[in-house]
């Protein structure tokens, strides 16, 4: 079953939208590179979220008009951003003290793989031709209070990203609590993967076939519904 062929699978923006819905009111959130960064666009004002960027910013606002971009005001993905009123700047030591010290409520991260034990692999593959880069991935994975992952359910060539064990080097063992994919919302607890929401038209057995680990349904497992989104 080729992932691309699955009818009704979510776009990257829809995954981000769904993840953003779950940010707790008033939370401080760090968004990783990739799909997570897109979630910034779907936070609503009533959620009262403040965004943290590990390069020393609290209170990230939307991207500026291109002509207003300040090269000294970028997010962790190195894209120009703005600062909201009440935001502030600090050095990298304090920024990572925030992260490791449990002051970030939610880190929404991209991933290559997640294991049913909550192990996260998101910093390198096994291809040694390319230099690895880790950035703040390990710090976030270990330090933020709740670790959530937003990623596509399988790779472009159909390889499952949800696994019994990660095949790639770990970022941190046993840290992922929830996963948002283009097919489902999945909790990770002592039972392993637990499907809470699955897209319409896809059965649990289909989901399991697209994974490399068992997935059990939550008692109240329901349909994963997202609006149409442009961009």
């Amino acid at each position: 079953m080729n992932a691309v062929a699955i009818p009704g699978r979510l776009s990257r923006r829809q995954i981000a939208w769904r993840a953003a819905r779950d940010f707790p009111r008033g939370a401080c959130v760090n968004l990783g590179i990739g799909i997570p960064t897109l979630a910034a666009d779907y936070i609503t004002p009533d959620q009262d979220i403040v965004l943290h960027s590990e390069n020393g910013i609290l209170g990230l606002g939307p991207a500026p008009a291109p002509e207003a971009a300040d090269p000294n005001l970028i997010n962790a993905t190195k894209q120009p951003i703005t600062l909201i009123p009440g935001g502030c700047f600090f050095d990298s030591a304090l920024s990572f003290a925030m992260i490791r010290g449990g002051h970030i409520d939610v880190a929404l991260l991209g991933a290559l793989e997640v294991a049913e034990t909550g192990d996260l692999a998101n910093w390198r593959t096994n291809d040694d031709r390319y230099a690895p880069g880790v950035g703040g991935a390990m710090d976030l994975a270990v330090g933020a209070r709740h670790i959530r992952v937003a990623m596509e359910h399988v790779t472009r060539d159909g390889r499952p990203r949800l696994r019994r064990r990660c095949s790639y080097p770990l970022t941190a063992p046993g840290v992922v609590a929830r996963i948002y994919t283009d097919l489902a919302v999945i909790e990770v607890d002592e039972r392993g993967f637990v499907a809470r929401e699955i897209i319409s038209g896809l059965g649990l057995d289909d989901l399991v076939r697209l994974s490399d680990a068992p997935i059990i349904p939550a008692d109240d497992c329901r349909v994963l519904e997202v609006p149409a989104l442009s961009g």
Partner: protein
């Protein structure tokens, strides 16, 4: 970010309970949140452990808590000063436990807790009585003492101004322990002289980002 303002000392100290550890900012009198500290007397909390640089002077602030018998133990660097008679008498009578910590080690242990680290090796104290019972390790030919993180249930600090998100700036040398204690307690309460709207404080000059602060209360004269 939620609005961190609370209307009274009562609300500011909600949840403070027996046996808790409470950090109190300040060096001498500078930076001590006197109103908050004395409002602890209006709670029922006993058997407290205080973490603070000094043990109070006269009958105010920390000394008032000691005098009222609320404190079982104090972790500090310099308990005795001219005027620390309340502490001195309790200590002589064996009615208060003291953990004496070098000042730099005290603030670094607090930072260590706030920064999510498990401990650090410091050359300070090696070869002295204050290293007693601690792991000592030779690092690059120099003796180092293993120091452990020091966190708390509450941190009570004083700042000059806050915005409603809890961003803080301090007044001169009253800054001292405040910014570090703000990182290391479950509930961080700042007593301030002024509260402004978000965006009023210069984002380059905020010392304590609001993420560290749970409650902001206006300083008031104690009746």
């Amino acid at each position: 970010m939620p609005d961190k303002r609370v209307a009274s000392y009562d609300e500011a100290l909600a949840g403070l309970d027996d046996g808790m550890t409470v950090m109190i900012g300040g060096f001498g009198d500078a930076g001590v949140p006197f109103g908050l500290v004395e409002a602890v007397l209006d709670t029922a909390a006993h058997d407290l452990t205080l973490v603070c640089n000094n043990a109070g002077t006269g009958e105010r602030g920390i000394a008032a808590l000691l005098k009222a018998g609320r404190v079982r133990r104090i972790v500090c660097s310099y308990p005795r000063s001219s005027g620390s008679h309340v502490f001195d008498a309790l200590y002589k009578a064996g009615r208060i436990e003291l953990e004496l910590v070098p000042q730099g080690t005290l603030v670094e242990r607090i930072r260590c807790a706030g920064a999510g680290l498990g401990g650090f090796y410091s050359p300070v104290g090696a070869g002295t009585d204050l290293a007693a019972g601690k792991e000592v390790r030779d690092i690059d030919g120099r003796a180092h003492v293993l120091e452990r993180p020091l966190g708390a249930d509450f941190a009570l600090i004083a700042a000059a101004r806050a915005d409603t998100w809890g961003n803080l700036v301090y007044a001169r040398a009253a800054r001292n322990f405040g910014p570090v204690m703000a990182t290391a307690a479950r509930v961080v309460v700042a007593e301030v002289r002024e509260i402004v709207a978000p965006g009023t404080l210069d984002p380059e000059c905020v010392v304590t980002p609001g993420i560290f602060v749970d409650r902001v209360v206006m300083a008031e004269a104690r009746s």
